[in-house]
């Protein structure tokens, strides 16, 4: 039987799949979203939070373009915090604890209510292509074929996944869910290379077995800042739950060291490569042996469950060791484990097989987003899912693809890193990966990227108008402030004294005062008589743009240079083997990644500036 009702198939309904499916349907295409288990839609199988350092940026950017994650977490968070608030604005990052169940249910509801989108519980076993390597459909386990024009792979960690808890191994996806055991083979037949990565999660412990009095409570912020630019800030001011902080100690570490041989990671049972940034507790103890204690955060899994997530202690040690280990931690002496910690191994693809549109270089109409591309994290997955979905829709609609470059957003950095670098471990976003960090702030994601969503068709005229008005207010206020001369009045003296600012000897402009690290735009309101009342987000932009002007302009200049290099296109049919003056290793890398521009070539790991010089000279001779 062949079903011909759909334009696009999305394989997987995790964070990437949900965004991809919603984007395609919202762009007017008949979309079917497959999932191996209807109960795993928008599942959060690991940490119970969204956002955090640099991940918060991704959510804001995704929201600016028209994604869903920010809106759903705004409705389902139970605690929220702006991290790094005392640091510069470029590294402020929003993080919210989610009620996991509520989050999944809300997202599922959004999918169900979306016109043009159907959900289907089925394991896709094959991607079908014609003789021109063009996607024609997908086949599911029961043998039924779905004819589609494009397909988006959002398989997460489900491909041939295997969970390990000490010597106990199960061939399942996360949380005991069914794995997808057939699709990898179909992808390999299409010539797609497959990698194997690993990640892990800590135990969940029941609330009534935890002694919170031995831990330090962690509170959320008031007021709460919403993730979505469309959320009314008043709607997110609500009662928040507490998290708790405790620590491992020498006893914990001793138990781990004694039993390290029983960890599948250390005994060699695990073949996949794990992430370094989110190491298991056994990794922390072995690799950072000089530390005699590690932080452990306890976070609730939701409002309607008594399970607590033990952040900082993921592990693949056997259950008996886990029990001993967790019970050494203050407050967890009588801990009862509801769900064991485990490691999970899965198939994914080296991202270099993809274009920047997230379409496979060699298969027309096959797109890929999320953890399958070698990333980790819900936010990284959602961001890619959105872009893969948009570009699958653009492909079917025969419109120009939409891409984001490294100077435009973290999403650009994420995708560029994934498709031009050979990551040997699950890739996680970090602010230090963004070259133009001061410009790519979470507070200006709308100004940077909303037009991309508008171009795609996910953002309305009205939303664009709102943004334009905001931008006008910001620029005219910056202009005004630069022209205001302030005299040394008693009011000003008092403000400056309170802020610990060096007294002025002559009058100056308001702009110069705002530039002082200890003063802000808002603090100087009393000496700025003609100031209009402006919304908070406008005032924030004025303050940041004035304060960091020097650095911001410098990054803008760097971006111009980057764009120039980015414009230096490399012919698609270039034969690197014939450029004998490039080192053999570099030639191999370039042949493997086939960068589209000189800038991309220079980003590839192991390509030295000398290689780039040779390449540029060669391009001139063409």
């Amino acid at each position: 039987m062949t079903v011909k009702d759909y334009d696009i198939a999305v394989i997987g309904a995790g964070h990437a799949g949900c965004e991809a499916g919603l984007a395609c349907a919202r762009l007017g295409l008949k979309t079917i979203v497959f999932t191996v288990s209807i109960n795993s839609i928008a599942l959060m199988p690991c940490n119970p939070n969204i956002g955090g350092s640099s991940k918060g940026h991704l959510v804001r950017e995704l929201d600016a373009i028209g994604g869903e994650m920010g809106k759903v977490i705004d409705r389902t968070f139970i605690q929220s915090k702006m991290l790094n608030k005392s640091k510069g604005p470029a590294v402020h990052s929003l993080r919210a604890q989610a009620d996991k169940e509520a989050y999944s249910r809300e997202m599922r509801k959004t999918l169900e209510n979306q016109e043009g989108l159907d959900i289907k519980q089925a394991e896709v076993t094959e991607v079908l292509t014609d003789k021109d390597n063009k996607v024609t459909g997908v086949k599911i386990y029961t043998g039924i074929t779905y004819e589609v024009k494009a397909t988006v792979l959002c398989t997460g960690v489900y491909l041939k996944s295997r969970c390990l808890c000490g010597e106990a191994i199960t061939h399942t996806g996360p949380n005991g869910l069914q794995a997808a055991n057939h699709l990898s083979d179909s992808l390999m037949k299409l010539g797609i290379e497959i990698h194997r990565f690993k990640t892990g999660t800590p135990a969940r412990i029941s609330e009534d077995s935890i002694d919170f009095s031995k831990m330090e409570p962690q509170y959320g912020d008031t007021p709460v800042v919403p993730f979505s630019f469309s959320t009314d800030p008043d709607e997110v001011q609500k009662e928040q739950v507490k998290c708790y902080l405790t620590h491992t100690n020498e006893k914990t570490h001793e138990i781990i060291r004694q039993n390290i041989g029983r960890s599948p990671m250390y005994s060699g049972v695990i073949e996949g490569v794990g992430p370094r940034y989110c190491p298991s507790i056994e990794d922390k103890v072995i690799k950072f042996s000089d530390k005699d204690s590690h932080q452990v955060f306890l976070e609730p899994e939701g409002l309607n469950t008594d399970e607590w997530y033990i952040d900082g202690m993921s592990s693949s040690l056997p259950e008996d060791v886990q029990i001993m280990m967790y019970r050494t931690v203050p407050g967890l002496e009588n801990a009862k484990i509801v769900r064991n910690a485990y490691a999970i191994e899965y198939d994914c693809i080296p991202g270099r097989q993809l274009k920047h549109t997230l379409e496979f270089k060699n298969i027309h109409g096959l797109f890929s987003g999320g953890q399958i591309n070698g990333s980790s994290g819900y936010e990284e997955a959602a961001a890619q899912g959105l872009m893969a979905g948009i570009n699958a829709a653009m492909y079917v609609l025969k419109k120009d693809p939409i891409t984001i470059d490294r100077s435009e957003g973290y999403i650009g950095v994420l995708i560029d890193d994934l498709v031009t670098k050979d990551s040997l471990e699950p890739y996680r976003m970090m602010t230090s990966r963004a070259e133009y960090r001061l410009l790519l702030r979470q507070d200006n994601a709308d100004q940077r990227l909303r037009h991309k969503g508008y171009e795609a068709g996910l953002i309305s005229d009205e939303q664009m108008d709102t943004l334009r008005k905001k931008q006008d207010m910001i620029s005219s206020e910056i202009e005004r402030v630069s022209k205001i001369n302030v005299k040394i009045t008693e009011d000003l003296k008092k403000i400056m004294e309170e802020a610990g600012s060096t007294p002025l000897s002559t009058g100056t402009t308001l702009e110069e005062l705002i530039r002082r690290p200890e003063l802000t735009y808002d603090m100087l309101a009393p000496v700025d008589e003609k100031r209009r009342e402006l919304p908070y987000d406008v005032r924030e932009q004025v303050n940041i743009n004035i304060k960091y002007k020097g650095y911001i302009e410098r990054e803008k200049r760097q971006i111009l240079q980057y764009r120039k290099a980015e414009e230096k296109k490399i012919p698609a049919d270039i034969d690197y083997e014939s450029i004998s003056n490039i080192r053999i290793e570099a030639r191999q890398k370039l042949s493997k990644f086939r960068p589209e521009t000189v800038a991309q070539a220079s980003e590839i790991q192991g390509i030295s500036p000398a290689d780039i010089q040779v390449l540029m000279v060669y391009l001139k001779t063409l």
Binding site: N47, S53, S54, L83, N84, K87, G88, P89, A90, V91, R276, Y277, C278, P279, K284, K287, F288, K291, H294, Q295, F297, D311, G312, K421, M430, T431, S432, R433, R437, L438, P517, E518, Y548, Y551, I579, S580, N581, I582, R583, I584, E585, A586, S602, E603, I604, Q605, G606, I607, S608, P609, A610, D611, Q613, V614, V617, Y618, T621
Partner: protein, 461 residues
């Protein structure tokens, strides 16, 4: 040059009368061309195609049926050669004339004459050596004295690379800590104690770089020579002094005041130190237009000079014109020479010291006395310390400029800390400094930071 597969040849040893010289040939056809011209005594092929890499072969250079020289040739196979290409080095015995004949013969067989430094450029383009090493080779090629040659050799062995790597590693470590703290604020904290530590560390790095830049100046004198300008009133013996330095009559010396109307330059070697000496027109008030142009030019030379030798006639009293000259040169490193002591001195050291504290040397150019004292004073002024083996001496302008840029970036870090700027801007300047230092050795920086963060800091909740 990218069309690098062609075969290049050049004489690889310095020109001179040494009996042995090397002709080097590199590129795709290097072995083929060598095999054509080098044969056994009886004219049989040596079959260089089938010999192992890094082997030496004895033979004779044949031009048709004529034997030009008896040679040893070494065959290096790609990529195990300096250029990474097939390379043959031919050790000839017949001096410059024969070397040139061998080279012409190779060129007639299809090799192309190498451009200056082309072997090195190929080695660099083929990834055989890094940028600082390539530059050192170029420095060796152009170095003129013993010190700069041995320093180039030590750069080539990688001492710049080592020093720069140590500085970069230290910068990267701090950046990684700050980034780790920004990425994972619940695990790592940037408190005031850390800021003070960071300030101390950055100051330490700044001191090292400052020293390198200062050394670079010292070395510039050694390598490029000390720009020396001889000034003084007309007819005090400036040109005669230049001639004494040069050892032959370069400037026109007459006893008519104002004979030298233009500046005259000479590059001379003095005990291993190079002086670029410029003689100037005598400085005095003149109505002669041509002479005045010469005087203005002299003032211009003074501003560019490293050393001024101020010559006076010790048999005449100091006058206003002398004082005016002293005024013009007082900001510069200068030596006063009291010439013509043979004619009887009326000025003494004390008379000069009333106006300036520059050192004073008494000499008679005509009788060739006092020259040793002058030479020793120059050495004392410019080669203050012994050249130390464990220091690095940058001789390359590009490298010095990059050190200066790194210095500026690191100074901004200090400024940011002191002004209370937010921590994320520290790392912008730290990474700039890191990148500038990386450019010195031509290193790729793309993923260093992430690797450092993960390897040194325990990340993640």
């Amino acid at each position: 040059m990218i069309a690098g597969n062609d075969t290049i040849a050049a004489i690889a040893t310095p020109s001179g009368n040494s009996g042995i010289g090397i002709v080097r040939i590199s590129g795709t056809d290097a072995v083929k061309i060598a095999d054509e011209v080098i044969r056994s005594r009886s004219g049989k092929s040596l079959d260089l195609f089938s010999v192992n890499s890094h082997t030496v072969h004895y033979g004779f250079i044949f031009d048709g049926n004529t034997v030009i020289d008896e040679v040893l040739c070494t065959v290096y196979r790609s990529p195990r050669s300096f250029t990474s290409e097939d390379t043959v080095e031919i050790n000839c015995h017949g001096g410059m004339f024969v070397l040139n004949r061998v080279l012409s013969l190779l060129l007639s067989k299809g090799a192309r004459l190498a451009e200056p430094g082309e072997f090195t450029r190929r080695a660099f383009l083929n990834g055989r050596i890094d940028l600082s090493q390539a530059e050192s080779v170029m420095d060796i090629i152009s170095s003129e004295n013993e010190f700069s040659r041995s320093n180039s050799l030590s750069q080539l062995r990688g001492s710049v690379k080592e020093k720069v790597s140590a500085l970069r590693d230290s910068i990267l470590h701090e950046t990684a800590f700050i980034e780790a703290a920004l990425d994972d604020p619940e695990h790592y904290e940037i408190d005031d104690t850390y800021k003070n530590e960071l300030r101390d560390k950055v100051y330490e790095i700044l001191a090292t770089i400052r020293n390198i830049i200062k050394n670079a100046d010292d070395v510039r004198y050694l390598r490029n020579g000390i720009n020396t300008v001889i000034v003084g009133k007309p007819n005090v013996g400036k040109s005669s002094l230049l001639n004494l330095f040069a050892g032959f009559d370069r400037a026109i010396v007459t006893n008519v005041p104002g004979t030298t109307r233009d500046t005259i330059s000479e590059r001379i070697s003095l005990d291993g130190i190079i002086l670029n000496i410029t003689d100037t027109a005598g400085m005095h008030k003149s109505s002669d237009e041509v002479e005045n142009i010469g005087i203005r030019k002299a003032e211009d030379e003074i501003s560019k000079a490293d050393l001024i030798i101020f010559v006076m006639d010790s048999s005449e009293k100091t006058d206003e014109e002398d004082i005016e000259i002293i005024d013009k040169i007082k900001e510069k490193t200068s030596i006063a020479v009291l010439n013509k002591t043979d004619k009887g001195s009326v000025i003494t050291e004390n008379d000069i010291n009333k106006y300036t504290d520059m050192p004073v040397i008494k000499m008679s150019v005509r009788e060739n006395t006092g020259f040793d004292e002058l030479r020793d004073k120059i050495k004392e002024l410019f080669i203050k310390d012994e050249i130390r083996d464990n220091e690095i001496y940058i001789t390359n302008k590009r490298q010095t400029e990059l050190f200066k840029k790194a210095y500026d970036s690191l100074s901004s870090v200090i400024n940011s800390i002191d002004r209370g700027m937010s921590e994320d801007v520290y790392t912008i300047d730290l990474m700039d400094a890191y990148a500038y230092l990386g450019e010195i050795t031509g290193e790729d920086i793309s993923d260093d930071l992430a690797d450092k963060i993960f390897s040194e800091f325990c990340m993640g909740k």
